[in-house]
């Protein structure tokens, strides 16, 4: 195999390294970006940082696809009679949006990018425990997700990301089986990443890095890895059963073949509810890093927050039934799942209270990452509490499968995960690239996203309570005004997404050089150069300080 031409890559990398030609640079070990220059060196890398960057580029591409589908959905819903697309096209569009955003953006987003890049550095390791396995997991991810993307875009699948049987097994006439195979395979990349992280956190911590000296982000990576390992195999099996039923007519879910469709809902949500915490926990981890730094103060109740992460990861396995209150589950199950879902609010509330207490009497800098963190707290609280509404049996009977649910989970997943992802991206950008991003543009887009997001999704709570069902291409005309409002909001939101792509790209070439620790942050990742050398640290670190080692008590006034 011949290595790809690297003249172009070389040019870009020279530009990255030498933005101001002629300035003298000190001779030292090259950083991970400049250690090797070819595209081939990127594709064969085992460096966790480079793999993190590969993930970052691929999930950004998938995000653009998913967001484009969302834009078309909002465009279609400007008119109530579904004149812009056919019903089948609309159904394929929301399937693309759901499949791509859930499996190829949200689930890998923070763990596979920041988890890969930052987590090993945070615990003072040279790499993850199994570097080649790490590379394998990226290849599995990219090939399976590109295959699925081809399936859902070229052929089209109209089942929605939930693949409910017997619609998916017997009645849909679209490319269901290839899409299922893609999603099954991509699950293995999650499993391998989870395995890798667990072993890394157990065995690769630097001398002195005890469990309770680990940053909360590492705790959430550990919690999320547990979910990857324990929940993903269940969806793998459930989707294999779907393939079996669709291809070989083995009756598992379709009553006409002797199966039970509610069984599929159970298996699906047994994974897909914990999957919500695959998306939410890493976001909480990122916020728990950003808030102390920009308050210059210790994280309040560190141990509570650490325990809450593990608590959430455990509790999340016992609440899947709340997706099925009106789906033919017994009244007793409904009562149990309802009260357990209320219990999930406790560890979530712990985190919110502790972030607020951390800000109190801090020394606040409202830079872009902190703006995202504060936006996150607000939107996550709204999303979480509307989740409690949905866990209330009689309310769910009305708003189940309506736009109320759509609004609720977008507050959690966009308001939560996506804002945390953007906050983390800005926070660690100097570490990733060695460049500073333009602060004013960063703040402007954070505001745009916050306003655009609320304008898009707040009207959907009203639509849902008024009774507009989800996945509706044609809707009653009395809902048009609120839908137009929501679609206009999505334009602002889109603008807020485009800005960071532009100015972050710009900063690669023109941004000011970043010092090792531009935020005056504590934590091992800020003790090494920006960008870090190939093996992360010039000298292996030893840890003899607690996490978030900011001032304990203000002595200067």
């Amino acid at each position: 195999m011949t290595p790809p031409p690297d003249s172009l890559i070389g040019t870009i990398e020279t530009a990255l390294r030498e933005p101001h030609p002629g300035r003298i640079t000190i001779d030292r070990e090259p950083d991970y970006l400049h250690d090797e220059h070819t595209l081939w060196s990127w594709l064969t890398t085992t460096d966790h940082k480079r793999i993190g960057i590969l993930y970052l580029l691929s999930i950004t591409a998938f995000f653009i696809v998913g967001a484009f589908a969302a834009g078309l959905i909002r465009l279609s819903l400007v008119v109530p009679n579904g004149q812009i697309f056919s019903n089948d096209t609309y159904n394929k569009l929301f399937t693309i949006h759901g499949v791509v955003m859930i499996w190829f953006f949200l689930i890998p987003s923070i763990p596979a990018t920041f988890g890969n890049f930052i987590m090993p550095i945070m615990i003072g390791a040279k790499d993850v425990a199994f570097p080649r396995l790490n590379r394998t997991s990226w290849y599995i991810f990219v090939s399976a997700s590109l295959f699925t993307l081809f399936t859902v875009v070229a052929g089209g699948v109209d089942t929605g990301w939930t693949f409910y049987a017997p619609f998916s097994t017997t009645f849909s006439n679209t490319w269901v089986v290839p899409a299922l195979i893609g999603v099954i395979v991509v699950g293995f990349s999650s499993i391998l990443t989870g395995l890798n992280f667990i072993v890394t956190i157990h065995t690769m911590r630097a001398p002195g890095m005890t469990w309770f000296r680990m940053p909360i982000f590492v705790w959430t990576m550990y919690a999320v890895s547990l979910i990857f390992l324990l929940a993903t195999p269940v969806i793998t099996m459930a989707l294999i059963l779907l393939v079996m039923e669709r291809v070989f007519h083995i009756g598992v879910f379709d009553p006409a073949l002797g199966g039970d469709p509610v069984l599929f809902e159970h298996l699906f949500w047994f994974y897909s509810h914990p999957a919500v915490y695959i998306m939410v926990l890493p976001g909480m981890g990122v916020i728990s890093e950003i808030v102390p730094v920009f308050s210059q103060k210790r994280l309040f109740g560190y141990r509570f927050v650490a325990y809450a992460s593990i608590g959430l990861a455990s509790l999340t396995f016992f609440v899947w039934g709340h997706h099925m209150f009106v789906n033919g589950e017994s009244e007793t199950s409904a009562l149990v799942f309802s009260v357990l879902s209320f219990a999930v609010a406790v560890p979530s509330a712990v985190k919110v209270y502790n972030w607020t207490a951390t800000i109190y009497k801090g020394t606040l800098r409202l830079d872009t990452p902190m703006l995202y963190a504060m936006g996150y707290i607000g939107l996550f609280v709204v999303g979480g509490l509307t989740g409690l509404f949905l866990a209330t049996l009689a309310i769910d009977e009305h708003v189940h499968d309506t736009y109320f649910v759509v609004a609720h989970f977008h507050y959690i997943m966009v308001g939560g995960t996506a804002l945390a992802f953007l906050g983390g991206l800005h926070y660690w950008w100097p570490k990733f690239t060695g460049r500073l991003y333009p602060e004013a543009w960063g703040r402007l887009s954070a505001f745009l996203i916050f306003i655009g997001f609320n304008a898009t999704f707040a009207p959907q709570f009203v639509l849902g309570y008024l009774g507009m069902p989800r996945r509706y291409h044609n809707y009653p005309p009395e809902f048009q005004l609120l839908n137009i409002l929501s679609s206009s909001g999505s334009l602002v939101l889109a603008l807020g997404y485009v800005f960071p792509m532009v100015y972050l790209g710009w900063s690669l070439r023109y941004g000011a050089k970043a010092p090792p620790n531009p935020w005056n942050a504590k934590g091992l990742e800020w003790t090494t150069a920006s960008p870090p050398p190939k093996h992360n640290f010039e000298t292996p670190p030893t840890v003899d300080f607690p996490p978030y080692d900011y001032r304990r008590r203000e002595t200067r006034v």
Partner: protein, 333 residues
Amino acid sequence: MSGKDVNPGDFPLALWPPSASTEAVQSDHLILGFTVLTLLLTVPIFLAIAWFAVHFRAGKDVHREYSDKRNRLLEVSWMLVPFLLTLIFFYWGAKLFDIHKHPPADALRIEAIGRQWMWKFQHPGGQAEINDLHVPSGEPVMINMISQDVIHSLYLPALRVQMETLPGRYTQLWFTANRTGTFRLYCSEYCGTDHSRMGGLLTIMSPADYAQWLRQSGTSISLASQGRALFSSYGCSGCHGAGSAVRAPSLAGLYGSPVPMLAGGTVVADSGYIHDKILDPDRNLIAGYKQVMPAFKGVIPEDRIVLLTAYIKSLSPAGQDTQPGQAGPERTP
């Protein structure tokens, strides 16, 4: 939407949906009460964050000294008190849910069949309607539903209730409407191409108007009578009818009575049992009879099963189709 005679102006944009039952009003009170509680719990936090962000900004000369002492009681209470307060709403919601799950025995029973992409409703008197549903106000109405193909869900926003319509299994919802009017009716579980067109209008009428509507619409042959015709056209009567040569259980008085199972124990013969027995008689073999009945899966559609069930239900133990003393399943000597 079927929307034959609906103009956009008939359903003006509102910020709160109309309600048509006392339970619906209670659901509204529940969510409003919960909203008030969540506002009480969160607005102080949001205000605090905003105030801290301004007051403690870097560079401002403010008092930042604080004690490292932790108040565990305070920390535990700010977790537990809100949790216990929300449990009030768990209880309230569960109580309403419990009411929704137990229809009164005397409820007017309407059969609903969902299929891609229409609803069929059958009234006890045999009147059938597609997509639209007419019900009387002031009396409990129970909708017993089943799907012919994929999962659907019958959603009546004005009554704040919905229930999934499953293939192969009956599910129910019920309500007592307290006003008349016309409201929307939807399928809320995604079911394929024309999912968003699978709905119509729910018309709640005064009992007198409902009786009038029943008289005017369609057939006057009751569900049970229609079922009786099917009972012979599908050949059921050849074995299950009186004086048949084949030794099959008599169906008189079967509905609602316990049936002994081959595997031991008994099962109460309700709609679901009869449905399963017709479509797939090889499952759940009953004691005392050799299983010789053919399966009718794929032969009899769901709406006809409903008719057959109505007929079987109408066969009283002392009905004219059975001879005295032969009521219920026969036992092996």
